[in-house]
Symmetry: C2
Amino acid sequence: MKDKYDVTKYDRPSVTVDVLLFTVEAGELKILLVKRNETPFEDSWALPGGFVRMDESLDEAANRELSEETGVKNLYLEQLYTFGNPKRDPRTRVITVTYMALVSNTEWKFKSTGDAKEAKFFAVDKLPKLAFDHTEISKYGVQRLRNKLGYTNIVLGLLPGSFTLTDLQKVYEIILKTSLDKRNFRKKILSTGLIVASGKKLEGIAHRPAMLYCFKNKKVVITD
Amino acid sequence: MKDKYDVTKYDRPSVTVDVLLFTVEAGELKILLVKRNETPFEDSWALPGGFVRMDESLDEAANRELSEETGVKNLYLEQLYTFGNPKRDPRTRVITVTYMALVSNTEWKFKSTGDAKEAKFFAVDKLPKLAFDHTEISKYGVQRLRNKLGYTNIVLGLLPGSFTLTDLQKVYEIILKTSLDKRNFRKKILSTGLIVASGKKLEGIAHRPAMLYCFKNKKVVITD
DNA sequence: TGAATAGTGTCTTTCAGACAATATGCC
DNA sequence: GGCATATTGTCTGAAAGACACTATTCA
């Protein structure tokens, strides 16, 4: 037992952060993957992430990795879970703290950061074989996202500043993989008071234009 | 950016696990604290925990630390959150993965493990000043426990094998800090099907003896 | 029979879910 | 007017919450 513990005396694991960046695009829930160009799992797809630096917090590390690999900054990030199976990385002991983040695909266009790494969104139902335990991590994150839809405004990250109720309902249906009754959905969403109406839809569409709504809070309300 | 990352090239943080061991005793929700006999925070109270070894998973580390410091083994352990502020430990960078566990105070008598460390349960509302960021960790854990009471059978860990509905209601009231209606509580708890009746209470008590119940599942049903 | 706790049912309100007709804007 | 989508309300069933009296055991 560690009576006098000297921190220098123990072997230390490496610690990484990995980020699940969700978006909804073309009727599917997708996550961003990057193609690895190092061993191990060279040429495999993996979650964006990397080593935590000694002078940054975990949240900062997740933000930095996300912005380095994708160019997006200051998204809402939520810590998911920490995976630490001793064999999860074949090189050495690596413990990874995972996060999730959400972007609206209409507001954000992927910017190449000069980093040669290839990055692409994949539907969560059609993921390729992933490096490390990233498949497990992805499943965990999707489950968490589904749960949180029910009792938080987390979905706001997936939508642009203003959107129609039909847009919002579609996002719910895609993530939950169910179809929802339009009247009941509207009743419930509006009764939460999380969203408010603004002006009307413009773009010359050949039918009745829908009212645009936006979220009252621009930030995710923390609940857990 | 880490194009060729060599895991040996980065400084590595230390990683610990810390465990919130809950119990309900004398009408209060309590957690186990141990008195530190090393720097930093020598003689302060702290959560039981310690360094993760290179060959064990995080769950295993939490189990090991709990059993080393308290003598209890194989409790249900749930990972809570990972705290990694760079300044949370004055010695060096230490990232801690936190867990919670629950014991019934009637079934478990604290066994000293020969370890000289002093260990004691403290009411969560009357915690002394704790080492590191352990006060924050405790608050987080209490909140999580409260949330989970509502939609899981996690409370089973706090009760002995059989118990009366009044016992169970008291545990809920203590943790939630509210009083509950007896009839509504019973209706709701019984309708979940999580507990079942057994025989009757024996011990010569000077009034009508209550029915004893037990949990149908002996394990916590995972939901998150 | 008195003290102490166990056990039980009804009514009201709220929320979720099923369900279809009318409104609006553009061509 | 025809097309395409937007918008809206009622009914029903389930669950949550308020509320008070009777039952049982022992001393």
